[in-house]
């Protein structure tokens, strides 16, 4: 069958071009939500193009026109059938004040899972260190942790000059990027159904527990608290939030307790995984600054008490933020638009 293609194309081309214009406008600003009239027009043009595609698909003489129409229909279909909540302009303030803490609370059980794994790892590392101090090079395979705590404390407290002078920002940048890489890897390993995440979280716990036990056995608990607390109370929770994101991904993959198919589960989990990952990275920026500019300075430069108090204050603020921020939005209705597909 040969049809009058030219008449068909001539009659329909203005509609196709109009649809193309609407779609290009929408693609130019991925955050923009169309006005009601524009959405109606998009729907009308999409239905017409779909009908045209169905007609031309039965007549395969002209693959270019069919492909052109398929492309138009595919683009319009994507705009029309995607959930409206997925097209909201990103607002930093709202993300910080509402979306991040809400995402954290939605999956708080997985955060506590990461805490437990770290705790078990820390206990294992601590016990191994207590029972076999000679295993230190194996438990903490880092050169800067090999000297005895007492020697290190003596060195730090007697230092006459600032060894980080002229390198603080560089050191800070290195800490930020290294810790962010590790945290994002912990998150990404959620794709192994969480096995990789569990291993890394546990291993981090082992190292942490071994370091703590090493300093406690050396009688340097106050130094340790003054050294670790200022940045550790942010850095360690950041890693745990990264692990929480990995577990959210793993949970979506495993799909326990839900009847949704895999694609739906992943699509629903993705915004929270990304939100938690960005949240962890943001915390690590702060931790990097604190570790470089504050944690590496000890008595007599900065009293341990002041450092410990600063660390505890950070911990309280961080806990309050994650447990309380955005609760009003929780009570006022459904979850954030960006998080609900």
């Amino acid at each position: 069958m040969i049809i009058n293609l030219e008449h068909f194309v001539k009659a329909e081309t203005p509609q196709w071009r109009r649809l193309d214009d609407v779609l290009q406008r929408m693609a130019a600003d991925p955050w923009r939500r169309p006005a009601l009239e524009e959405a109606r027009e998009l729907d009308r043009l999409y239905r017409r193009a779909s009908a045209d595609l169905a007609r031309i698909a039965t007549f395969s003489a002209e693959p270019d026109t069919r492909r052109y129409l398929e492309n138009l229909v595919a683009r319009a279909y994507a705009e029309i059938y995607s959930a409206p909540g997925e097209r909201g302009r990103f607002r930093v303030r709202r993300w910080l004040a509402v979306e991040l803490p809400q995402a954290f609370r939605r999956h708080v059980g997985l955060f506590w899972l990461a805490v437990t794994l770290t705790g078990v790892g820390a206990a294992s590392g601590g016990l191994a260190m207590a029972f076999d101090p000679d295993a230190k090079p194996v438990l903490m395979p880092y050169s800067h942790l090999q000297e005895s705590p007492a020697e290190r404390v003596a060195q730090e407290e007697s230092a006459r000059e600032d060894r980080l002078s002229g390198h603080k920002a560089t050191f800070s940048g290195q800490l930020m990027t290294h810790n962010t890489r590790v945290t994002l890897l912990v998150m990404a390993l959620g794709i192994t159904c969480g096995v990789g995440t569990v291993i890394l979280v546990f291993y981090n716990g082992v190292i942490l527990g071994a370091v703590i036990m090493d300093y406690l056995l050396g009688g340097q608990g106050v130094f340790l608290a003054g050294w670790l607390l200022p940045h550790g109370v942010v850095e360690i929770p950041a890693m745990l939030v990264g692990a929480q994101a990995g577990f959210v991904l793993a949970q979506a993959l495993l799909g326990r307790g839900t009847r949704e198919n895999l694609a739906d589960r992943l699509r629903r989990a993705t915004p929270d995984v990304v939100t938690l990952s960005f949240g962890a990275a943001l915390l690590l920026v702060w931790a990097g600054v604190v570790e470089s500019f504050l944690s590496q300075y000890h008595e007599p430069v900065i009293p341990y008490l002041a450092k410990i108090a600063f660390g505890l204050l950070e911990a309280v603020v961080l806990a309050y933020y994650f447990m309380r921020a955005g609760r009003r939005a929780d009570r006022n209705g459904p979850l954030t638009e960006a998080a609900s597909p």
Partner: protein, 277 residues
């Protein structure tokens, strides 16, 4: 490669329309990745100049910013471009690839970020070995990032509207003065032959000159052998123009004619289609 690997992904809309995505091959994806890698290196080369200038003011700050800057550039490059350019980076644009949602829905920001964050695993242990193997064994050629984000990488579809002016419907057609020839052609030319001729005309500018001359000579000879053409109808026109005229009488209504063209290949028993005007 898995035996069940698909090359094309078809999506049927609730309206009954069907569209398809042609999945990108690993080689084209590798080419796009190489271009992106080179782009990041080039962009970093430019940024280094800025950081060097910053070093004159504060050496430590400049180095710290450079360390963080490289991380942000190398991690954020694909995220930002794929989001702003609807699933494309510079490399994907050059080799005509696009990241799309595997169900045909709109690509979300979170999907773009997640598929790129999963590069931390896909890139392990080196040279994207994990991601490459995953793509090789996945039915839809998805690396782990694509599996997690529910995305696929497809070949970019043709976006330009087809050029129908090639058929020259408004111009003089040397076959139209011979209605019996037109009727005979519509009877004898099969839909398959007509489609081949139509495609040759619509794509004529894509052929090399010698191949174009040869192709239209073969087509013209074939159709002349199918139906006797009066010498006057073919005099003074090239083989390509003859094929265009043939397509004109097969597919298009003649100017001033109030009767729709009889379908060629009607003998084969195909049906008529009506159109909305």
């Amino acid at each position: 490669m898995t035996a069940g690997r698909v090359q094309t992904l078809r999506v049927r809309t609730p309206e009954g329309a069907v569209f398809s995505f042609e999945l990108a091959s690993p080689v084209t994806r590798l080419a796009a990745w190489a271009v992106d890698k080179a782009t990041v290196s080039a962009a970093w080369g430019l940024l280094v100049v800025i950081f060097r200038l910053l070093e004159l003011w504060n050496n430590d700050l400049a180095r710290g910013a450079a360390v963080a800057g490289y991380f942000v550039l190398s991690t954020g490059y694909a995220m930002i471009l794929e989001w702003r350019w609807s699933g494309q980076t510079l490399g994907k644009r050059l080799v005509r690839l696009r990241v799309v949602d595997e169900r045909g829905l709109r690509l979300t920001f979170a999907q773009v970020v997640l598929r790129n964050l999963l590069r931390f695993v896909d890139a392990l242990p080196a040279a994207y070995l994990v991601g490459g193997l995953a793509a090789l064994f996945s039915r839809r050629g998805q690396r782990l990032g694509d599996l997690a984000a529910g995305t696929i990488v497809v070949r970019e579809a043709v976006e330009a509207a087809p050029d129908w002016t090639a058929l020259q419907s408004g111009k003089y057609n040397s076959l139209r003065p011979y209605p019996h020839v037109v009727a005979r052609l519509r009877q004898m030319v099969t839909p398959r032959e007509a489609r081949a001729a139509l495609q040759a005309v619509l794509r004529r500018d894509r052929f090399e000159a010698a191949a174009r001359v040869r192709l239209f000579a073969e087509l013209a000879a074939h159709f002349r052998a199918t139906t006797p053409i009066p010498p006057e109808a073919g005099e003074g026109i090239s083989d390509e123009q003859f094929v265009r005229n043939l397509i004109g009488v097969l597919y298009l209504q003649g100017p001033g004619s109030d009767r729709p063209p009889a379908p060629a290949g009607a003998a084969a028993g195909t049906a008529e289609v009506s159109f909305r005007s």
